[in-house]
């Protein structure tokens, strides 16, 4: 069972030497941190490594957390930096991820699965599939906005951007997600015919 204490109360306990309180903090945020890591890594093993690294880094720097923002915002900024470092290490060219070739590759990989399972798929499956096809930045902004309970300003803090830039990026990310979702659903409709 997860603790009902607030993040700040748990942090105070951790700083006082109660390590179990940090386990509660990890449990509370692990799903979201892991999901964000998945937006960059595209593989569960790598995502777990990133997420674990984030929590360890957060633990190390917990004393320096200024408490001027939410703990989650601070934690997500660590996730973003760690994930970007991971991407750099893996030498993934994020600029080219969104091009047509990559889309076709991803689409083709999933199409074999589509033929046999199209009837069983829910719309949420296609939504997750569309998110996976987005650029990591787009997928992160969408996830932070819809699932992270973060305002545009807080997302800006986590990603090191101005709130207005986040607003523009969110708008574009939604458009791209909508396009990809429509394309995936159209593809499914063709398969059914």
């Amino acid at each position: 069972m997860q603790s009902k204490l607030s993040d700040i109360e748990l942090i105070d306990q951790v700083l006082a030497g109660n390590q179990a309180a940090y386990a509660d903090l990890v449990k509370r945020h692990q799903r979201f941190v892991f999901t964000l890591a998945m937006r960059f890594a595209k593989g569960r093993e790598d995502a777990e490594e990133i997420a674990q690294d984030c929590f360890i880094k957060a633990y190390r720097s917990l004393a320096s957390f200024q408490r001027q923002s939410k703990f989650s915002t601070w934690l997500y900024s660590i996730v973003y930096t760690t994930a970007m470092t991971f991407l750099r290490k893996k030498r993934v060219d994020t600029d080219s991820i969104d091009d047509e070739n990559t889309y076709i590759q991803v689409e083709n990989q999933s199409s074999a699965y589509d033929v046999n399972n199209a009837e069983n798929k829910s719309r949420s499956f296609y939504l997750n599939q569309a998110i996976e096809q987005l650029l990591p930045d787009d997928a992160t902004i969408i996830t932070l906005f819809y699932k992270g309970e973060q305002s545009l300003e807080e997302i800006g803090q986590a990603l090191g951007m101005e709130a207005n830039t986040v607003k523009v990026k969110l708008f574009r990310a939604r458009q791209r997600l909508k396009e990809k979702l429509e394309r995936n659903l159209k593809h499914e409709a063709k398969e059914l015919i």
Partner: protein, 169 residues
């Protein structure tokens, strides 16, 4: 169309001023294109909000806490070797060696013609090899130059390692 979408997303997200909000509400009520687009975006917004979060492995929390514990267990071992002791020993050696070096350089005959009479202080049957012909000013300067290059090389290696570890973090 992009403009309409942008306006409507702002309206849906609640990022409009009250005046803008009223104006957009009127547009949605009166303009068919706005109304259809609004309904479409509203449905999308609902769908996006229903994104499911991924679940890490069952042992995730345990792994994090274990990693922290392991890290903490290593810290006392490091701390046991007091940096001041190491610095003190290093300082002792540096001062001693510098003293010897200064003394040696000070007592050296730089003309290169004669060396201190070491043979007088050692047993008579001990033959000191005659190295005075090998030690010359250029040789000492060469030795010093080599030391400086070596020190620069080691300093460069240290800075590179520091830089790599900073990038890794």
């Amino acid at each position: 169309m992009n403009n309409i979408e942008e306006t409507l997303w702002n309206y849906i997200d609640g990022n409009c001023t009250p005046d803008e909000q009223r104006a957009i509400s009127t547009l949605i009520a009166s303009d068919e294109a706005y109304r259809l687009k609004y309904q479409e975006l509203l449905a999308l917004n609902k769908e996006f909000a229903a994104i499911e979060l991924e679940e890490p492995s069952m042992a995730f929390t345990y792994n994090v806490i274990e990693a922290i514990r392991t890290e903490q267990a290593q810290v006392p071992l490091k701390a046991a070797i007091n940096k001041r002791i190491i610095l003190g020993i290093a300082l002792f050696f540096v001062i001693t060696l510098t003293g010897f070096l200064i003394y040696a350089l000070g007592s050296m005959d730089w003309s290169g013609q004669s060396m201190p009479d070491l043979a007088a202080k050692v047993p008579a049957n001990f033959k000191v090899p005659d190295i005075s012909s090998h030690i010359s000013k250029p040789l000492v300067e060469g030795f010093m130059f080599f030391d400086v290059v070596l020190a620069l090389f080691l300093f460069d290696t240290y800075l590179r390692r520091k830089n790599i570890s900073r990038q890794a973090n």
